[in-house]
Amino acid sequence: MELLSILTTIIHNGVIYATPLIFAALGGVFSEKSGVVNIGLEGLMIIGAFASAVVTLWTDSPLLGLAAGALAGVLLSILHAVASVTFRAHQVVNGMAINFLALGLSIYLTKQLFNGSAQTTTLKTLIPKWDILWLSEIPYLGPMLFKTYPTSYLAVLVVILCGYLLFKTSFGLRLRAVGEHPAAADTMGVHVGRMRYTGVLISGALAGLGGAIITLTTTSNFSYSTISGQGYIALAAVIFGKWNPFGVLGASLFFGCVQALNSSAQVLGFSAYIPTAFIQMLPYVLTIIVLAGFVGKAEGPKAAGEPYIKGSR
C-alpha cells in the first residue's frame, strides 16, 4: 500500500513536471518538422516564464500571464526565423544565441523592474488545480491524473490538435514536405520560407507557453533558475518522441516522472540510501541513456538544419 501511494505522488508530480515539457517539445516538433533545428527552446521558455511572471504581477490574471508568455516566445522566435531562414545562419549557433540572449535580457529587465533584485516578487495568484468531477474520486488514479492543473489537461488536447494539424491537413503535409525535401516542395508551389517561418513561430508560442506554465504552476516567481535545462530536456523529448506529438507526450511524461522521482527522493527517504547528488543526476543521465539507446532508430526530418537556397542543385 505504501508503494502505491508513493507511486501516486510521483506520477502526480510527474504530470506537473511533464506539462511544460509537452508544450515546449511540441514547439520543437513544429520547428524541426519544417526543417529548422530549434535548440533555442530553453531561451524561449525563459522569456515566456519571465513575461508571464511580470504580466501576472501587473494584472493578477494568470490567463493573461499565459498569453504574455506565448507572445514573448513568438517575438523572440522571430529573431531565430529571420536569422535561420532569411539569412541562412547556422541554426544551432543561432539557437544558442537565443538561449544566452533570453537569459541575459530577462535578468536585466527583472533588475530594472524590481529595484535591482535578480528575481521577481512572488506571485499572489497562480493557476489553481482543478478536480475533474467523478474521475478525481477514483482511488489512486484520481489523485494521479485528475486533481491537477488545467494546463495539463490542455496539454493533452494540444497534443491531439497538433497530431491532427501535422498529419491530416494540407498545412501539415506542406510543413513536413518542407522539412524533408524543400526543393520538391518548392517545385510544387509550396513557399518554403513562409512554411519555415510559421513552424518557428509556432515553436516560439508553444515553448513560451511552456515557460509560462512553469512560473504559474511550480515556481511562482521568475529568477535565473526558473528554467534550468527544461528546454534541453524538451529537445530530447522531441527526439525520443520521434518528432511525433503523441511520442512527445509519452517522452515528456517519462522525463517528467524522472524529475518527480528526483524531487521526491528526499521526502520519501531515498536519500538515506543514495547520495542526493546521484539522484539529482538521474534526469540527465537517463536522457543520455535513452537518447543513445533510441536515437539510432529515430529518424528526424531530412532537411532539418539545412538552409534552403532556391535554385541550387
Binding site: Y164, K168, L173, A177
Partner: protein, 510 residues
C-alpha cells in the same frame, strides 16, 4: 499544325558566360521534341527558363501561340507546363499519394480529402498506363515507379506540356522501353513532350523532332526521320566523333583479384552482398552491369576496405586483403576512382596539388617529420598536369574551379600514378561530355593494355559493352551471370539486370 511552345531569341548570362545565346526553337503540339546537347551546352538552362526557375535576360516565350511571361514554377504549372526532373523531386518518407497531391491537396472541411485524391489519380494512371501503388512510401518503390510518380504529379496539375530532363539516365533498358511507350501514350492523348537528352539512340527511337544545342547556341533543328546517329553526334560535338573505341585483343594474364563468397551489410544493417564470387585477371576489364542500388557500391567498398566484410575472403595477387585498412589496401596496389566525385574522390575546397597527393601525402617524398614539403607536392602536381592534360589556371587553383572533366582527370592521374595492380573505376564518366569521356576511356584501356586488372562499374550499358572484356551482372547483391560482351545484347543484359533470367556461369573457362 499548331505550336505548343515557341521560344524566341532567348539569351541568359551567368557570371558573364552566355549559357543560352539567342536560342530559338519551336515544339509542335502532340509531338515528342528532343533537345540534344552535351553537358553544359545549355539545354537545362533553357528548360529551367521555360519552367520559370530562371528568368531569361532577353527573348520571348509563347505557349499555345500566346506570348507569356513565366516568373516562377507556379506560373508555369498554371500554363500547363510540367517538369519531370532528372533528380526526382520526391519526399521519400511520404506515400506516393501524398507526393502527388502536395501543394494541390483537395480538402474536405479542414482535412485533406485523400479519398477524392486517390480516385482522381487512379483515373489518370489508368488513362496513361502509369502503374503505381498509391499507398507505398516512395523510398520503397523502384526508380521506374518513382519516375511514373513524377509524371503523375505533372498530369494531376493538368500539365499538357511535359518536360523530361535526362529521364533515362537511371533506368534499365526495359524501363526505358516502358517510358517510351508512356511518352507515346501521352502524345496520343494530345500532350506535348520535350525530352532533354544526350543519348542519340533514344532520340532516334522516340522523338519526332530534334533541336541540337552546342555551347549555348542552336546549331540545327531537324526531323528525326531525316537524320541519323552519326550526323547528330557530329552536330552535338562540333567535330567528327568516333563512336567506336578501338580496342585491341589482349591475352589476359595472372589472377589479380578474387572474391570468395563475400557477404556484407549496407548502411541500414541489411545484407547487401549475398555471397559474391568474382575474379579479375591482369590485362582484362571486368564490367559490373546492374541497376543502381543492387550492391555495386557495397562491392567496391568491401574491396577497398571502406566497409567491413561479414564473411568470405578477398585476395589481391596472392595476398589476403580481407579486413585490412583502406590505406594498406591502397598501398598494396588497389587504385580507386570513386563513383561520387564530389563526395568521395576530391576535396572541393582544397587545391589541385593537395588533391593530387591525398593518397601519398604521408610518404617521405612529400612529408618530413609531419610537415608537408610544399615544393615537391607542387612539382608533382605540375608533372601530372602535363602528363594528363589537366586544364587548370595553376596547380594552386582550388579544384572546385575546374570543370567536371578536368576534376576527373585529376582523380585518374592520382590513382594511376601509383602504378596499381588493380584499378577500380566506378562510374568514371558520369556527368562528363563526349571529349572527356573519350580521354578517360583511353586511359582505362591503356591500363588494361599494360597488364593491369580493371574492375569497371557503370550504369551506362554502352560503356560497359564497349570497354569490358567480360561482364558480370549484379542483381540484388549477387552476381547472376557472367557474359561475353561480344556475344550479348543490351536486351539480354537488361533481363539479367532485372533478375528476370538467370545467367549461366560461362566465359570463365576461356
Amino acid at each position: 499544325m499548331t505550336l505548343a511552345v515557341e521560344m524566341k531569341n532567348i539569351t541568359k548570362t551567368f557570371y558573364g558566360m552566355k549559357a543560352n545565346d539567342d536560342i530559338s526553337f519551336q515544339v509542335v503540339k502532340g509531338e515528342i521534341h528532343a533537345l540534344l546537347g552535351e553537358n553544359g551546352a545549355g539545354k537545362s538552362t533553357l528548360m529551367n527558363i521555360l519552367f520559370g526557375l530562371y528568368q531569361a535576360d532577353q527573348g520571348e516565350i509563347r505557349i499555345h501561340e500566346k506570348p507569356v511571361k513565366i516568373t516562377d514554377p507556379q506560373m508555369a504549372i498554371q500554363l500547363g507546363i510540367g517538369m519531370v526532373h532528372q533528380h526526382f523531386m520526391l519526399v521519400d518518407k511520404f506515400t506516393v499519394l501524398e507526393n502527388i497531391i502536395l501543394g494541390a491537396e483537395p480538402r474536405k472541411g479542414t482535412s485533406i480529402d485523400y479519398h477524392k485524391a486517390s480516385k482522381e489519380i487512379e483515373t489518370l494512371s489508368n488513362q496513361y498506363g502509369l502503374k503505381i501503388n498509391l499507398n507505398s512510401q516512395v523510398r520503397d518503390i523502384s526508380i521506374g515507379m518513382q519516375q511514373r510518380v513524377e509524371i503523375l504529379k505533372t498530369l494531376y496539375r493538368g500539365a499538357d506540356i511535359l518536360i523530361f530532363d535526362e529521364p533515362t539516365a537511371v533506368l534499365t533498358p526495359q524501363e526505358i522501353q516502358e517510358l517510351a511507350s508512356i511518352m507515346k501514350n501521352l502524345t496520343d492523348e494530345g500532350k506535348t513532350v520535350i525530352l532533354i537528352t544526350h543519348k542519340l539512340k533514344e532520340i532516334l527511337a522516340i522523338a519526332d523532332a530534334v533541336t541540337v544545342i552546342r555551347r549555348g547556341k542552336v546549331c540545327d533543328s531537324l526531323r528525326v526521320k531525316d537524320t541519323n546517329e552519326a550526323e547528330l553526334a557530329e552536330k552535338m560535338v562540333g567535330r567528327k566523333v568516333t563512336l567506336q573505341l578501338d580496342k585491341e585483343e589482349k591475352e589476359r594474364e595472372g589472377l589479380v583479384l578474387s572474391l570468395r563468397d563475400v557477404r556484407a551489410r549496407d548502411n541500414r544493417g541489411l545484407e547487401a552482398l549475398h555471397g559474391i564470387d568474382l575474379e579479375v585477371y591482369g590485362g582484362e576489364i571486368v564490367g559490373i552491369a546492374g541497376v543502381d542500388g543492387n550492391g555495386q557500391s557495397e562491392l567496391i567498398e568491401v574491396i577497398t576496405g571502406l566497409r567491413p566484410v561479414q564473411s568470405g575472403e578477398i585476395v589481391l595477387a596472392g595476398d589476403h586483403i580481407t579486413g585490412l585498412h583502406t590505406r594498406q589496401i591502397n598501398e598494396m596496389g588497389v587504385a580507386h576512382i570513386p563513383e561520387d566525385r564530389h563526395r568521395t574522390a576530391i576535396v572541393m575546397d582544397m587545391t589541385l596539388s593537395e588533391n593530387l597527393v591525398l593518397n601519398s601525402y604521408f610518404k617521405e617524398k612529400f612529408n618530413k617529420r609531419g610537415l608537408l614539403i610544399e615544393k615537391s607536392i607542387k612539382s608533382h602536381a605540375r608533372k601530372l598536369i602535363d602528363k594528363f592534360d589537366i586544364r587548370t589556371p595553376s596547380e594552386s587553383a582550388k579544384i572546385r574551379a575546374l570543370s567536371g572533366g578536368n576534376q576527373q582527370k585529376a582523380v585518374i592521374a592520382r590513382e594511376i600514378e601509383g602504378n596499381p595492380k588493380l584499378l577500380i573505376a566506378a562510374q568514371p564518366t558520369r556527368g562528363l561530355d563526349v571529349g572527356a569521356i573519350e580521354f578517360i576511356h583511353r586511359q582505362i584501356l591503356q591500363e588494361r593494355d599494360q597488364g593491369k586488372a580493371v574492375l569497371l562499374v557503370s550504369f551506362e550499358l554502352e560503356e560497359i559493352l564497349s570497354l569490358s572484356d567480360r561482364i558480370a551482372v549484379i542483381y540484388e547483391g549477387r552476381i547472376v551471370g557472367i557474359v561475353d560482351p561480344k556475344e550479348t545484347t543490351e536486351q539480354e543484359l537488361g533481363l539479367l539486370m532485372s533478375g528476370r533470367i538467370k545467367g549461366k556461369e560461362t566465359a570463365d573457362e576461356s
